[in-house]
Amino acid sequence: MSHISPKSTYYAIFGALMALTALTVYVAFQHLGWLNFPVAITIALIKASLVVLFFMHVKYSSKLTKLLVASTFFFLASLFGLTMTDYMSRGWFTSPRGTTTAGMLPKLQAAELPVASEQALANPGPLFEATCGSCHSFTTKTAPTLAEINQLYGAKHDIESMVTWAKAPQRKRMRFEPMPSFAHLGDARLHALANYMLQQAAQTPPQ
């Protein structure tokens, strides 16, 4: 009914598979840079093809079987490929406002903002809510919470360090999106905000 392969065919294919396994391990330890991955996948594809064609007899199967096996790659490729169109192009072009919430803030120069009024500096609550609060609250998960900031800076009431950070944030915690610079707010506002944040943290009992 079906094609009967001679034993020698099976032994030969087995030998080839062993050789290819050894080859893939050997190549893995060679410095090929970005080529290591495609080479490994190619060898794996060759091995898989040998198993499919000879051990699974697809070489001697109907055209329909061959068509079906080949078409699987098409669908797998669309899963991988189209998903990657999203991930590969995420950073391509950032509009002037950026795509993250923080990045949507207009990139103003310090001189473009009016001088802060005494009243505004004495009562920085609304500015805090509008500018910092969405990332730095007590419960947010996108940035260090007010409690954490208090832990870092509250003991020594280190306003200066906070202002320095806000003007040129580094990135110490990889799990958060990078913090954008708020230098454009100007020193006066930044001091007021830093004070306000430590105050808020001190007033609120630990959660």
Binding site: S2, I4, Y10, F14, T24, V25, A48, V52, F55, M56
Partner: protein, 235 residues
Amino acid sequence: MPDALAAHAEAHGHSHGHAAHHPDLQHHFETLEQQHEASTLGMWIFIIQEVMFFGGLLAAYMLYRIWYPTAWSEGSAELNIQLGGLNTVVLIGSSLTMALAVRSAQTGKQKALIGFLVATMALGLVFLVVKGFEYHDKWVLHHVPGLNFKLEEGQVPQIAIFLSLYFALTGLHALHMVIGFGIMSVILWMAWRKRFNPEWYTPVEMAGLYWHFVDIVWIFLFPLLYLVDRAHQVQ
């Protein structure tokens, strides 16, 4: 149709006028060849479906490998390449014995069929035992995400994603092997009972297709998990 004939036909599953047929031909098929083609096609479609099943995990793997090359490099270094390589050899060997088992059925060699089936199962068992040792090592080293994971000094936290995918992929693969083992047991029992002959050995062939598929999955998993960035670890 007279009632007696109808009763006879119903009892034996033949309708009036049907000639006697091969005992392994199911009555909704016309010929053994049609039945065999249907079985083969069905099994292949099932295997294609299984490929898509693993495909989802591989899509996740692909994304995170691109995002976190360091985690992938560190994670792969934590895997035992000797045991992984051994398992690759063992599993490919079991594919060989399986192909030879099918051939034995095709040529009517009953004892060889049983021998090769046992060999296939034995090699499969070796694979699972080795995997068990690997998993145990991972547990001891606190490399199991969610359950006892501890990030080591100098390692990036995303190594937990690599390890999650490692366990998901190899665990799912091992589950398929266990199922395959079960299928083989049934085939072995049927072979023992001399159910197969050169005219009808379809279950052996179908079990073989399944087993080879499980082998192919490992052929990809081995380089994807064990051989990431090995060149940079050999200074």
